[in-house]
């Protein structure tokens, strides 16, 4: 964090009485930020990413796959349905790998492009931007909003505020409803709502997520980025001098001062910055980028758009505030030189690890056997003497079918001579279901020495031609 620099404006100091100590409150009411609207390259890109992410979020629960929802995280029945995949709690390892991949992707992305995630696709920024758009449509742009807030209560103020909050709440409830649709089939929920038989828990969760959206995007906004989000705090550990950030070209811009259009800046010894403070007005987190990179900055690029528009009006070259790297600005590198620096050791190592993990993840998911078997030997029955002079051990096999069709499974046992299956050994299990079956294994009494012997069960899915081997033991009594 840089120390505030000397302002070029003339300040008349107020000399305070040295005998009187001043007390300040350590709990400061937040100053509301009124971002001004701006159009430009990055603003356009922000809205493209908003559209893409929201179409995916709001649209995904409505997609169907066969006779069920395509993406359904059914927590109550312990099944995750992701398009063609049926995932059981035993598949949790895939989620872990997915999280590691997400973390590595985060490190890679941040090392190269800084906080573009924050400014362009983070749900907090996206929803703030959507709510801001609603607010602008109803209350007007920055100046109008500041004026409205400073006015006394009037019919106009009440009606505008009410309309804004009604719009926000409607949008929030739709968001809560969509979010719930990832966990309970969304068509069922909408049916319940239309017929007024939504269950208490469903109502609670819709209201909870709705309230969270309303609170975060309507009121908290940049407070989340400033105080709550850990990403802001550890960005300094993930950045290096070749990371893309929003920069203010201090060398070019200082000393800043307003001037008439006819004045030649170089002749007058002035920097390109005309101190219009437009970059401060458009900033959604309320900082001044001219103070340098700050932890609050979410790299949304609106200040770049703002300054570029002013530079255009002044006929100065663009880029006084621009996306660049710290090295790029201090060494005056060209765009080409900056891009060359992307292929540095840190980036290459992250990329290598990421590719390895992604390939491993995809391969193991693709090669996964679509059923699981667990063998538990009956402990109450150590071994049993049965008719025919055989000794019998009983096992319980739990077969979980991870496909969406009924499957037939054939069970056999190997590992000891003369081992036979003395019960039914072919079973069917319904789609995405699991079943416990009892298997008895027999061997002639005395044919093996007493004690435990390792054996193997082979369980074959007849329709899929895939097999699983599970080990167990056979206990011969003394």
């Amino acid at each position: 964090m840089t120390v505030s620099q000397q302002k070029s404006k003339k300040v008349i100091p107020i000399i305070s009485d040295p005998n009187q100590e001043k007390f300040v409150s350590l709990y400061e009411a937040q100053k509301k930020v009124y971002p001004r609207s701006i159009s430009g390259y990055f603003h356009q890109w922000r809205w493209i990413t908003i559209w893409i992410t929201q179409i995916v979020f709001y649209g995904m629960p409505w997609l169907e796959w066969g006779n069920r929802q395509a993406l359904l995280l059914d927590i109550s029945t312990h099944r995750f349905y992701i398009f063609g995949l049926v995932l059981y709690p035993q598949d949790l390892v895939f989620l872990v790998v997915l999280l590691v991949i997400a973390a590595l992707a985060l490190f890679l992305f941040t090392a190269v492009a800084g906080r573009l995630w924050c400014g362009f696709s983070c749900p907090q920024s996206v929803y703030t931007e959507i709510f801001l758009w609603i607010e602008r449509k109803i209350e007007g742009d920055r100046a109008a909003r500041i004026k409205l807030d400073s006015k006394a209560l009037s019919f106009e103020k009440i009606y505008k505020k009410w309309l804004k909050h009604a719009a926000w709440i409607t949008f929030s409830m739709w968001t809560g409803f969509t979010f719930l649709g990832y966990f309970t089939p969304i068509r069922e929920i909408s049916d319940s709502i239309l017929h007024f038989h939504l269950s208490p828990w469903e109502t609670f969760w819709i209201c909870f997520y709705g309230f969270a959206t309303y609170g975060n995007a309507g009121f908290l906004r940049e407070q989340v980025c400033k105080y709550m989000c850990p990403y802001a705090r550890f960005q300094s550990a993930m950045f290096d001098k070749d990371t893309l950030i929003v920069t203010y070209d201090e060398e070019r811009g200082e000393p800043r001062s307003g001037r008439s259009r006819k004045v030649d800046a170089k002749e007058a010894g002035l920097g390109d910055c005309i101190d219009c403070s437009l970059c401060v007005q458009v900033c959604p987190v309320g900082i001044d980028i001219r103070d340098g990179l700050q932890y609050e900055c979410i790299s949304c690029g609106l200040c770049v758009d703002a300054c570029d528009s002013i530079m255009d009006k002044m006929n100065y070259p663009r880029g006084l505030v621009r996306f660049s790297t710290q090295n790029g600005v201090s060494h005056h590198w060209s765009k080409h030189e900056i891009i060359q620096k992307i292929l540095r050791p840190r980036v290459l190592i992250y990329t290598g690890l990421l590719v390895l993990l992604c390939v491993g993840f995809a391969v193991s998911l693709g090669m996964r056997t679509p059923f699981k078997v667990d063998v538990i030997r009956d402990r109450g029955v150590l071994s049993r003497l049965v008719e025919g002079g055989n000794v019998e051990n009983v096992y319980r096999l739990q077969i979980t079918n991870a496909t969406e069709a009924t499957q037939t499974y054939h069970i056999s046992a190997t590992g000891l001579d003369g081992l036979t299956i003395a019960s039914q050994n072919e079973f069917t299990v319904n789609a995405a279901d699991s079943r416990m079956v009892a298997i008895g294994l027999q061997i002639p009494d005395g044919s093996i020495k007493s004690g435990s012997h390792p054996i193997n069960f082979e369980i074959k899915a007849l329709g899929l031609n895939e097999a699983i081997t599970e080990k167990s033991i056979f206990y011969m009594s003394r």
């Binding site: 120390v3 001043k22 409150s25 009411a29 009956d378 109450g380 009924t406 072919e426 009892a438």
Partner: protein
């Protein structure tokens, strides 16, 4: 009921907890105003390593309110729920009555599934593949620990598939067994029979009843003493299902086969219990289980439970 003999610890805990909450709020209040160290910038005035300064930024007020709300929530929680020593809380919550509530709710939730079968006779329920799939799961989860996953039992745990019953094999009797449990008691009979030789003779007679190998001389002697056993096991040795006395002629040996095992039983007696399931399972669940068990001994292909699949 408190485990302690005095209430000291209860007061101790309450004091610390309440003191802690009040202390947190006091801390919040005490640190709310601070002397401004420096007039020119927002730092504490300390400088380290020539140019590193320590900022003194104020906390956002919403954070302060969240903290206060947390303390209020904590206080409200401790009034409503137990937490301050032995104070029971205004809601009267205990983990036992939460459990009982959950059991009652679960029973209400599963009742519709079983409603259809509750109206049917056990013999018909045994033919319903959906019911038998439920029965299989109920059996695996509740009965297989003693009676084996294949219901064939083991030493001391009856075989449920052999159509040989201690207390009766009708659906009503099976249901009674499951609901109330069973307690079979055979007193030691050695003293009543006489000497060790007498016991051995009677053992051989018992063996003769079931077609096992026996010593005919001893069996003859033993038959004379058998009247003492007949009081429970019947004059013909066919047992008494009213009191759970086993049928000695069926060649089913729950507690061990052979002369030595029988002698041991006569000498020591037997006390064998099956726990009652009536408190753990609902009546409707027991109804389905009854059909499942009855089916093993009464339906021709009862050893092949696979016609229970495709029950969706």
């Amino acid at each position: 009921m408190s485990d302690f003999t005095s209430n000291f610890w209860s007061y101790f805990i309450s004091f610390i907890v309440i003191g802690g909450i009040i202390g947190c709020l006091a801390l919040l209040l005490m640190t709310s105003k601070v002397k401004q160290m420096s007039d020119t910038d927002n730092t504490t005035g300390h400088v380290y390593d020539e140019d590193i300064v320590e900022m003194n930024n104020p906390l956002p007020r919403w954070w302060m309110w969240l903290f206060i709300i947390t303390c209020v929530f904590g206080a409200a929680y401790l009034i409503i729920y137990p937490g301050l020593g032995i104070y029971k809380g205004t809601a009267g919550w205990t983990s036992i009555n939460q459990y009982e509530q959950e059991v009652a709710e679960t029973k209400k939730k599963i009742a519709p599934i079983y409603a259809k079968f509750a109206a049917m006779k056990p013999e018909d329920v045994a033919q319903d593949s959906k019911a038998m799939a439920i029965g299989e799961r109920l059996f695996m989860n509740n009965c297989s620990q003693c009676h084996g996953s294949d219901a064939r039992g083991s030493r001391g745990f009856p075989n449920l598939t052999d159509n040989d019953w201690l207390y009766g094999g009708s659906p009503e009797k099976i249901k009674e067994t499951i609901t109330l449990g069973r307690h079979g008691m055979m007193p030691p009979m050695a003293a009543a029979l006489g000497s060790a030789e007498d016991v051995k003779n009677v053992a051989n007679y018992v063996l003769s009843l079931s077609g096992s190998m026996y010593h005919s001389g001893r069996a003859g002697l033993g038959q004379q003493k058998f009247a003492i056993c007949a009081a429970c096991h019947g004059a013909d040795g066919k047992g008494n299902q009213a009191i759970g006395a086993p049928n000695l002629t069926d060649n089913v040996w729950l507690h061990g086969a052979g002369e030595a095992a029988i002698i041991k039983r006569i000498n020591e007696g037997k006390d064998n219990q099956m726990p009652a399931q009536g408190e753990r399972l609902t009546e409707e669940q027991i109804h389905v289980l009854t059909a499942y068990i009855w089916r093993f001994s009464n339906l021709p292909d009862s050893q092949k439970p696979d016609n229970q699949a495709n029950t969706k």
